[in-house]
């Protein structure tokens, strides 16, 4: 299926290649590089490119292009999903996914890629299985390896590879048994000029950090599972039980994982935690404009809104700006025309305001569209949809685990049109 993989940095240099079938010359990437040249933004490169003999499927992630070469029919999402898994695997192993990291651990990345695919078909993509085959680097281990001559490569088949629960390895032991769940909700919204909601929905995710010994069988139940409109699960969750009883029953993977993602019914009115008063205007005559933005709390359920940040892509014709912020600070990159106003905590008594003048390039026409504002925010201890975890039960093990649930609300793709 997947013939080859090339990792390409933003400047177009191929710094890693791996072939699972016979070798494909790296000149095949030229088609891709050409398309990349044409695209204004890296995101605009088409994910699927058709060349005379191959198909190139690529993803852009963490400032890197992962380009795979395909020769025959294959579901494109299959490849795309796999490429993302590769990126996640690198992230998981080395803490971040970047060019330097890959270059530093070239051999290990290569070995991992070797294990992940066999003849182009995924063999082991579960991180716990991979970690048993090739252990992630730690300082301690590298020292030990030097002294004892042992290696990072396991010589027995990871137990997960054979069991029906490949995500969990056998014989996990912890002295402190803990299970933490973060309910993170993101508000996706589009507000129009007048502040009315064009579109809003809540996307939530339950991130788990489970460090429990043995083979615990957990059951997580919600106070109000009816809220959840659409869900997707980590493979460990038993679908049937969710369908019949609306509880999450699962044998968790070891460590961090995403237990579920969900979508809250858009028909329910979504509470919008902030409002934005804005006026951006350009004067018809003269190359000048004004910008005035105020952010205030709206439906916050009595919590403080933190980490508020406003990002604006200003029109290309802007020459310079001169703004003053009553709270927080702003940065402006004249190259990308990106204005970022970092407000921080929202104080209902004294609303933060950013105002000032924009000057356009001489002779440039008045921009037709006002730039839209992208809002970022965070509310601790609140799930905006009102979702609440009821309880977590553990079966199968004798000890009493520490349990914890945290709620966070964030802005997802939160856009204010102007």
């Amino acid at each position: 299926m997947i013939n080859s993989l090339f990792l390409i940095n933003p400047s177009g240099e191929i710094f890693l290649e791996k072939h699972w079938k016979s070798v494909v010359s790296r000149s095949v990437c030229d088609y891709f590089l050409e398309a990349k040249e044409k695209a204004l933004e890296p995101e605009d490169v088409p994910p699927v490119i058709h060349t005379p003999h191959h198909y190139l499927i690529s993803i852009y992630r963490d400032k890197l292009f992962f380009l795979s070469v395909i020769q025959t029919e294959v579901p494109p999402l299959f490849v795309i999903e796999f490429l993302h898994r590769v990126a996640e695997m690198i992230q998981d192993y080395f803490g971040e996914c970047s060019e330097t990291v890959v270059k530093d651990h070239m051999v290990m990345v290569y070995e991992l890629l070797e294990e992940m695919l066999d003849n182009g078909f995924p063999l082991a993509t579960e991180s716990n299985v991979l970690k048993e085959m090739i252990r992630p680097p730690t300082i301690l281990r590298s020292v030990v390896n030097t002294l004892t001559g042992t290696s990072n490569v396991g010589d027995t088949l990871p137990t997960g590879q054979l069991s029906t629960i490949p995500w969990r390895r056998a014989g996990v032991r912890y002295t402190n048994n803990e299970a933490y769940f973060d309910v993170v909700e993101e508000i996706d919204a589009i507000l129009d000029q007048s502040g009315t909601t064009v579109f809003a929905e809540i996307q939530g995710v339950v991130e788990a950090c489970v460090k429990l010994s043995g083979m615990p069988d957990l059951t997580l139940s919600f106070m109000n599972p009816r809220l959840l409109d659409d869900v997707s699960f980590h493979p460990c969750v038993r679908y049937k039980l969710w369908e019949s009883e609306r509880v999450l029953s699962f044998i968790p993977p070891d460590g961090n994982f995403t237990l579920m993602t969900y979508h809250v019914n858009a028909q329910n009115l979504v509470a919008i935690p902030v409002y934005v008063k804005q006026s951006i205007s350009f004067f018809e005559c003269g190359s000048d404009g004004r910008l005035d933005v105020t952010v205030g709390p709206k439906q916050t359920m009595g919590k403080t809104v933190e980490g508020v940040m406003v990002t604006v892509h200003l029109p290309k014709t802007i020459l310079s700006i001169n703004l003053t912020a009553t709270q927080g600070s702003y940065t402006y990159d004249n190259g990308t025309k990106l204005l970022v106003w970092d407000i921080g905590k929202l104080n209902p008594q004294k609303l933060p305001n950013l105002r000032g003048s924009l000057s356009l390039q001489a002779g440039a026409p008045k921009p037709e569209e006002n730039p839209s504002l992208n809002i970022d925010l965070k509310i601790q201890q609140l799930a905006i949809s009102g979702l609440k975890v009821n309880r977590l039960d553990m079966f199968g093990e004798k000890y009493k685990p520490f349990k914890g649930v945290k709620y966070i609300t964030k802005a997802g793709k939160f856009q204010v049109r102007t």
Binding site: P47, T72, Y110, N119, T125, I190, Y239, K240, T258, F395
Partner: protein, 1195 residues
């Protein structure tokens, strides 16, 4: 065979080859070396510190730094490696050394070169020698190298073959698998026969992982030598029958690559694949679902054919729900045809459509996968539903697809393409999610355009106003490509929805004054298309556009305006000639398409208004005559002949007007995604709208369904669906207090359910079953079949099942009674009373066994909970019984006991000593157990009897991993007669596979030092469905270390381990209270006055329900194999006060191996407060025991 033998001999000869090759290399290097002297420093340095590879990286000195630069910098410096053979020389030397660390370092550097795409092929001989290296990491890297370069150096690669062949026989499955992996990845044609043999062998390997690797190897061999196809198909057929989820995905992948046309191979495995699907790993799921889509298209009937009938019949289209009301609007021609065709056939048959149960099975089993986290799986299910499901059910996929839109932009891109195609056919499906397709200014352009496409497809009379308002914001965007696409989208909405045509047109005309030329041009083109629909009413727009010719430079737009003016010159008689005049002036500078339109305009004007335009036309035609473009020259010549009447011109010129000014049909603005669904959705071909290599065409529905009986399988599949077991348990919990009839019927083991499922399936196949008509009843059935536990539905089958159960009972020598005498005895008693009860209890306990083997942990937990409940009950029911009756509880067969205990209530004469008379009931295979039991019975007074009914069973081998063989063990708490220092472990084998297991024995015990094992006698044959128990002895050396050994059958070996709870490491001894106290003091004094050294005291609070004496005794004896010290003696000797205010419970035992005393006392005080004291010489055991008992008491 001969080529094989040759190959086997090859390595010897080839070794020489390598030597010579190396010698040559060496000479070359020597010859070159003078040139390389500047780098000699490095060279020396390697020799200088060969022992420590870290020096290579972190040593000091200039050379090192340079070296490090080479290692880390990549690109540039490594390219110098290629040009400087010296570097390779170093590597070779490192590879030749006998230090693994040096070899590893060298291999790492070589692999880094490969990863960077540098050529390292000249190191082949040096690397290949290390293929047999002991160090696993070196070995792996050598494999990596081999796979990369073997194709280029085939002869040398042959050297490694024998190593792999050896590896194929290795006892370690990982090594076997990786040997096969590499062997099959080496693309050397000469070893094809070896590969074939290896694959065949591996396909019947014991380890499913090796079999999986074999499945992976099949397409590799096929691509290397397509002539092996027939042999490979045999292997595929064999592997398709494999029952493990691990193999399923890989073998279907192989099937798809080698023989996708052999759909007949799937028949027998179809149901199994459907049932396994949910447990297959994600990637396998994608492949299987795609394959099954194709399979279903060939084997089942179109589920929508009746619906189309209904629709044609009129009036009833809402029958299937409101979701697809709109669908009729955009029925495509093709579908119409199809409809007619199917209608015809349907009428001929006069038979209502009934969905094949297998078709339903597929739909049902794939549906939960819509919740997968993997976008590819979701997409695969979505396309399956789109292509296979009845219209009414397709809607379920919309939500999942919309969810994927939140994912990475690449995923969005692919999903949107598919949604665009789907939304043409099934608009209603996505309408509720309209807003999810709204565009954000931060979306990449390609996503924006696709979203626009979907929005346009979804537009209808009701939502068009919202969509148009949305479009208005898009038009202001800075992204001009996107704006152009929006304008086109508006155009399409206007053509499709008559009501808004005027509004759209007005809006577009306003855009004509836009500053951006692209926007204007695009509007012109769209307006042109719209005007064609009703030109009469819009002459002012045409005039307005005529004025634009001065400003608009975009050729397409200019051409469009000219065409419009020409076409409708009668509506603008004054302006048209003027436009032609201007155009004639600039003719030579125009683009080709504009020129062509100028000629057209000229010709049309000449025909309608020759007075004003004759000269102009001639001028234009003359210019065109000498144009560089021959198309234009041709056009000019052609038109001149046609319109200018001359003598020679034939009859055609008379018709010139008709030719040029004929009424042209308005263009239909169509989605580019129309009819794309003839490609299987989600495929690469669909995305590209062109057939990709290896694409398998999605066949059309057959007119008549092929024989469904081909999918029948004689053997019952035992479906290992662990995901479902817990739901069953839950249900069980709920049902605990229901009458036992429905209880037992509701809970049937998976084997039985599979049985019943296939029963219904085959039943409805033959009689074209009718239960599958409404979706409501279907979903209910889904519960029944997959969870095997819907009460009402199975009630009918109850009797039959009971019979089965009785049969099983008759066949087996009462397995339960073997494992636990007490419960067995109960069974016996009830047997007299009522037969159905036996049946039910039996089936329950069987069920328990099954689910237990599926997830033992949760089961245990649950049974404990239940046991608490039960204690309460028991307290009530057994109030009249003598207190000496040992409570039987906390074991696997909880439920059974419960019903039996209820039963005891009605029994007029529950005998107090019912525990003892077991002997006649026990089967002969457990003589030793029996002996032990009767022995203790004789020695101990009834009060000290260890309740033998509460043995906890542990799982040794799961049914799935054991491929049908499940093994459980329990500590039987009987003295192990061959060696009193061993703990007796009773092992119970259950063969739930379809074939018999032979020669069950154990070998290769890996024990901690001092531990010993007495093996159980080999079981020669264990027929399918049978259960047998054996006893083995383990001397754990008084430690809780696990005993690891291999459990072997005639085909396979399983690694298993037995870990004893600390309470099982001791055996009860009988002593009086005084003796107990004496011993306790002795122990305390033995280590001087150091209290606490071998006494551990814990305070605890007992729960209400376990404050009673029985509860405490029972819990302690369950946790540890101890005997109770009779408390009666307490009163007699020491304490004059008759009722002790705080009763003390004492227990005594000794460790099995060393015989150290273990003394436990529990002092209960008021309000449930209690104190637990454990005295034991062995501190470790003491501490652990305290913990265990504490847990037992407080739970």
């Amino acid at each position: 065979m001969t080529p094989m033998q040759k190959l086997l001999q090859l390595p010897v000869n080839a070794m020489n080859m390598v030597k010579t090759a190396q010698d040559q290399m060496g000479q070359q290097d020597e010859a070159k070396s003078p040139v390389m002297t500047p780098d000699g420093g490095n060279h020396n340095w390697y020799n200088g510190e060969p022992n420590d590879p870290r020096h290579i990286r972190f040593g000091s000195g200039g050379g090192d730094q340079e070296e490090r630069a080479h290692l880390e910098e990549g690109g540039g410096s490594l390219s110098s490696l290629v040009t400087q053979p010296l570097r390779h020389d170093d590597l070779k030397e490192m590879l030749d050394s006998n230090k693994d660390s040096l070899k590893l370092e060298a291999m790492k550097r070589i692999v880094a070169m490969i990863a960077r795409g540098k050529n390292a092929s000249d190191l082949f001989p040096a690397v290949v020698k290390n293929v047999a290296c002991k160090n696993i990491e070196v070995k792996k890297l050598v494999y990596v190298y081999l796979v990369r370069y073997a194709e280029e150096q085939q002869d040398l690669a042959l050297l490694s073959i024998s190593t792999f062949q050896r590896g194929l026989k290795d006892p370690n499955q990982l090594i076997r698998a990786s040997a096969l992996r590499v062997l099959s990845s080496i693309r050397v044609t000469i070893i094809v026969p070896i590969m074939m043999l290896a694959i065949k062998e591996a396909a019947s390997d014991m380890s499913p992982y090796v079999r999986k690797t074999a499945a992976h190897a099949i397409p590799k061999l096929y691509s290397l030598d397509p002539e092996q196809k027939d042999c490979l198909i045999e292997v595929i057929e064999k592997l398709l029958a494999d029952k493990t989820t691990l193999v399923a995905g890989s073998v279907v992948m192989a099937f798809e690559e080698v023989c996708p046309e052999r759909i007949d191979l799937i028949h027998k495995n179809y149901r199994k694949l459907c049932n396994l699907l949910i447990d297959v790993e994600e990637w396998g799921q994608v492949v299987i679902i795609n394959m099954l889509t194709r399979y279903a298209r060939t084997q089942f009937l179109n589920p929508n054919m009746n619906e189309s009938l209904l629709e044609e019949g009129g009036g009833e289209k809402a029958f299937y729900g409101s979701d697809n009301d709109d669908d009729t609007d955009d029925e495509e021609d093709k579908e119409e045809k199809e409809k007619k065709k199917t209608e015809a056939t349907a009428i001929v048959k006069r038979k209502p459509y009934v969905m094949d149960p297998d078709h339903r099975l597929l739909l049902r089993n794939t549906k939960p996968l819509l919740q997968s986290r993997n976008a590819a799986v979701v997409m695969a299910v979505a396309q399956l539903y789109f292509h296979l499901a009845p219209k009414a059910e397709v809607g379920v996929i919309a939500k999942a697809l919309v969810r994927l839109m939140r994912s990475h932009s690449e995923v969005q891109y692919v999903v949107l393409q598919n949604v665009a195609t789907m939304s043409i056919k099934r608009r209603g499906m996505f309408e509720p999610y309209l807003k999810s397709f709204y565009i954000r200014s931060t979306d990449p352009t390609q996503i924006k355009v696709l979203k626009l496409e979907v929005l346009t497809n979804l537009a209808n009379e009701t939502n068009i106003s919202t969509i148009l308002r949305e479009f208005q914001t898009y038009i202001k965007s800075n992204d001009k490509d996107f704006v152009a696409a929006t304008i086109q989208a508006i155009g399409r909405c206007a053509t499709n929805i008559g009501e808004v045509r005027d509004t759209c047109l007005n809006g577009l005309v306003q855009l004509l004054s836009n500053r951006d030329e692209l926007v204007v041009a695009e509007s012109v083109v769209v307006i042109k298309k719209l005007l064609q629909m009703q030109p009469e009413q819009h002459s002012d727009i045409i005039k307005h556009m005529a004025k634009l010719t001065d400003n608009i430079q975009v050729p397409m737009a200019r051409a469009s305006i000219l065409w419009l003016i020409g076409e409708y010159c009668e509506h603008v008689p004054k302006i048209a000639p003027d436009v032609l005049r201007k155009m004639a002036k600039t003719f030579t500078n125009e683009e080709d398409i504009v020129k062509l339109q100028i000629i057209n305009l000229a010709a049309k004007l000449y025909l309608t208004n020759s007075k004003q335009t004759k000269l102009l036309t001639q001028y234009v035609l003359n210019l065109a005559k000498y144009d560089q473009n021959y198309d234009i020259r041709d056009r000019a010549r052609f038109i001149r002949q046609l319109i200018v009447p001359t003598d020679k011109s034939g009859a055609l010129s008379k018709y010139a007007k008709k030719l040029f000014l004929a009424l042209k049909p308005a263009p239909v603005l169509e989605s580019p995604f129309k009819d794309r669904d003839h490609f299987q959705l989600g495929s690469l071909s669909h995305l590209l709208n062109a057939k990709a290599g290896g694409y398998q065409v999605l066949p059309d529905w057959p007119e008549a369904a092929p024989d469904p009986s081909v999918r029948n399988v004689e053997v019952k599949e035992s479906v290992p669906e662990w995901t479902k077991c817990s739901s069953r348990e839950k249900r069980k919990e709920k049902k605990a207090d229901k009458p036992f009839y429905s209880d037992s019927e509701g809970e049937s083991g998976p084997t039985e359910s599979a049985d019943s499922a296939s029963d219904t399936a085959s039943g409805s196949e033959s009689g074209s079953g009718s239960e599958e008509s409404g979706s409501g009843s279907e979903s209910e059935e889904s519960n029944e079949e997959s969870e095997s536990a819907s009460e009402e539905d199975e009630e009918e089958e109850g009797k039959k099942k009971k019979k089965n159960v009785e049969k099983i009972k008759a066949r087996k020598p009462v397995p339960e009674s073997e494992s636990e005498p007490s419960s067995g005895e109960d069974v016996k008693k009830s047997e007299k009373k009522s037969k159905p009860r036996i049946g039910s209890s039996e089936s329950e306990s069987e069920e328990d066994d099954d689910s237990e083997s599926e997830s033992s942990e949760s089961e245990e937990e649950e049974s404990e909970e239940e046991s608490e409940e039960e204690t309460k009950k028991k307290k009530k029911t057994t109030a009249s019984k003598p207190p000496s009756k040992p409570p039987k509880k906390e074991n696997k067969k909880e439920k059974k006991e419960m019903s039996l205990l209820d039963f005891d209530d009605f029994d007029p004469a529950p005998s107090p000593s019912q525990v003892t008379p077991l002997n006649n009931f026990l089967s002969s295979s457990l003589v030793t157990d029996l002996e032990g039991l009767s022995l203790t019975d004789n020695v101990l007074s009834p009060t000290t009897i260890v309740p033998s009914g509460n043995l906890k069973t542990y799982e040794l081998l799961h049914r799935i991993t054991g491929e049908g063989l499940s093994v459980e063990y329990c500590f039987s708490r009987q003295p192990f007669s061959p060696d009193p220092h061993m703990v007796a472990v009773k092992i119970q084998f259950t063969n739930s596979a379809t074939s018999e297991a032979k020669s069950l024995h154990m070998e290769d015990a890996k024990l901690q030092s001092g531990m010993r094992i007495k093996e159980f006698p080999e079981i020669e044959v264990l027929p399918a469905g049978e259960t047998v128990s054996v006893v083995m002895g383990i001397d754990f050396c008084d430690s809780t270390q696990a005993a690891n050994f291999q459990l072997c059958t005639h085909t396979r070996k399983f690694f298993v381990s037995i870990q004893p709870p600390v309470g099982e490491l001791m055996m009860p001894i009988f002593m009086t209270e005084n003796e107990f106290k004496k011993e306790q003091e002795m122990l305390l004094q033995s280590l001087g006055q150091l209290m606490g050294m071998n006494e551990i005291t814990e305070k605890l609070t007992l729960e209400e329900k376990c404050q009673g004496e029985h509860a405490v005794v029972q819990r302690v004896t369950t946790a540890a194999n101890l005997s109770r010290v009779p408390c009666g003696s307490d009163k007699e000797c020491s304490h004059p006060v008759p009722p002790p205010p705080f009763p003390i419970h004492r227990f005594a035992g000794k460790t099995v191996t060393s015989g150290s005393l273990v003394l436990v006392s529990v002092v209960t005080k008021e309000d449930g407060a209690a104190q637990l004291t454990v005295n034991c010489e062995k501190m470790v055991i003491g501490t652990m025991l305290v913990k265990d008992i504490l847990q037992a008491l407080t739970q």
